[in-house]
């Protein structure tokens, strides 16, 4: 029964928003905004809170079992400290909340990302081999791009830069466009199947 109601709700919201896409009537636009803001945004925001609670429950479970206890405790302290700081001092200007963002979160987050530079360099040495003709083409395109997008313009002939721009704008773009069209058609059919109730995996397994 519950699954049937969920399917009907899914169809109703899907069909409604699909229809509203084509209407310019003020009443239709008002309804569109109401669905977007009052339902989609609010429910989604609460769903994010569910995700946070799920993380807390999982971490707490690990602490009780003793799995990586010190690290899990640090995670929970980090998580708990942010709302506490926000409640006491607010989140704007030079608040401790913003301090945590700027001097704890940003440096670590961007450094984690910077680690990838080293792994890319390592992969270039170990895995980037011209084993076949397509692999050689991939390698040539990568080297051409690297040459053209550095600032070695005095050393590298202008021809390389022009060739790299042409490659990116034509054959490379064409492949990306084909991927885009493929994804577009796939998303289109999946959306239709979801609204029409043919695709029901999102409802879960249990009856």
């Amino acid at each position: 029964m519950n699954r049937r109601i969920a399917q009907i709700v899914c169809f109703a919201f899907g069909a409604l928003l699909f229809a509203l896409y084509f209407s310019q009537h003020p009443a239709a636009r008002k309804l569109n905004a109401t669905v977007m803001i009052d339902y989609w945004q609010i429910i989604f925001a609460i769903t994010l809170l569910v995700g946070v609670l799920g993380f807390v429950r999982m971490t707490w479970g690990s602490i009780r079992k003793g799995d990586d206890r010190p690290y899990r405790i640090v995670s929970l302290i980090g998580l708990g400290s942010m709302p506490v700081l926000a409640i006491i001092w607010g989140i704007r200007g030079d608040s401790p909340f913003m301090w945590m963002f700027e001097y704890v979160l940003v440096p670590m987050q961007s450094t984690v990302f910077a680690l990838l530079a080293f792994f890319v360099a390592s992969a270039s040495f170990r895995g980037f081999r011209a084993r076949s003709a397509p692999a050689a083409v991939l390698l040539a395109a990568a080297i051409l791009t690297l040459l053209s997008r550095s600032s070695l313009e005095g050393i590298v002939p202008q021809f390389f830069t022009e060739a790299a721009d042409w490659v990116r704008g034509n054959p490379s773009m064409a492949a990306r466009r084909a991927i885009l069209i493929g994804i577009g058609l796939g998303s289109l059919t999946t959306s239709l199947r979801v609204i029409l109730g043919i695709e029901r995996t999102w409802l879960g397994g249990e009856k």
């Binding site: 905004a33 945004q41 704007r92 987050q109 040495f125 550095s150 600032s151 990116r168 704008g169 990306r176």
Partner: protein, 271 residues
Amino acid sequence: MKQIESRHWIFGGLFVIVIITMVLNINLEVRVTPETDRFYACLDSLPAGATVIVSFDHEASSLPEIRPLALAVLRHAFSRDLKLVGTALLAEGTAVGYRLMTQTADEYGKTYGEDYVYLGFKPQYIAAILSMGESIPDTYPEDYLGQPYRDYEMLVDVENYDDIAAVISIADGSLTTHWIEYGASRYNIRIVAAVTAAMMTTYDPYLASGQLYAMFGGLRGATEYEQLIGIGGSGKRGMLAQSAAHVYVMVLIIAGNIIYFRTRRRKGSAS
């Protein structure tokens, strides 16, 4: 103690090269590419007083690359006396966007509420983009500072995208795609993007089809833009290191291939 492996030498080499080139502190001039020029011309052609949305659609992880791009664009926009409305489609971009906007506004003597307003974050980016097309004040009843939207004089006539000259999406992922597919397609808003280098090829088909009006990106793009507006920044400072790192990766690729082919030939002659 674990032994030093070959990857450690590769890591160390990259570290040394970047540090040395950064310490040398040499600013390189670069050729301005047509794509950066088109972005610049787009902002430059907007009349003073036109309202532009600057959307910080990125996370904190890409800040080292995004920051020079965002600063260059914001400096250009403020110098052109455009009215800026800041938004964020990702939570981490929210605080970053506010900091960058206020910092740049101070450089140009701009006043919050008169020259720019920061609206902040809304989750579910598709819903946020589409609902702003219907009503920006309904989507953002309050700004980031908690003040009602209607209190700001510069926003009195800004109801939806009809009152916006362009959207500048500063992104490190696929969020610009949603601006194009939902904002541009449904509401005919002009979208321009400043993106990380890794995302540039992703947006090429939209740029070629005209759905994305202009795009530039990466540290190299930031350097080009800094050159166009005549203000040096961290983009310019990092270009020597960037070039050296590119050469290092190319050398690694070539060295890896030489070793591979020599080993293959040796194995071939042995058998």
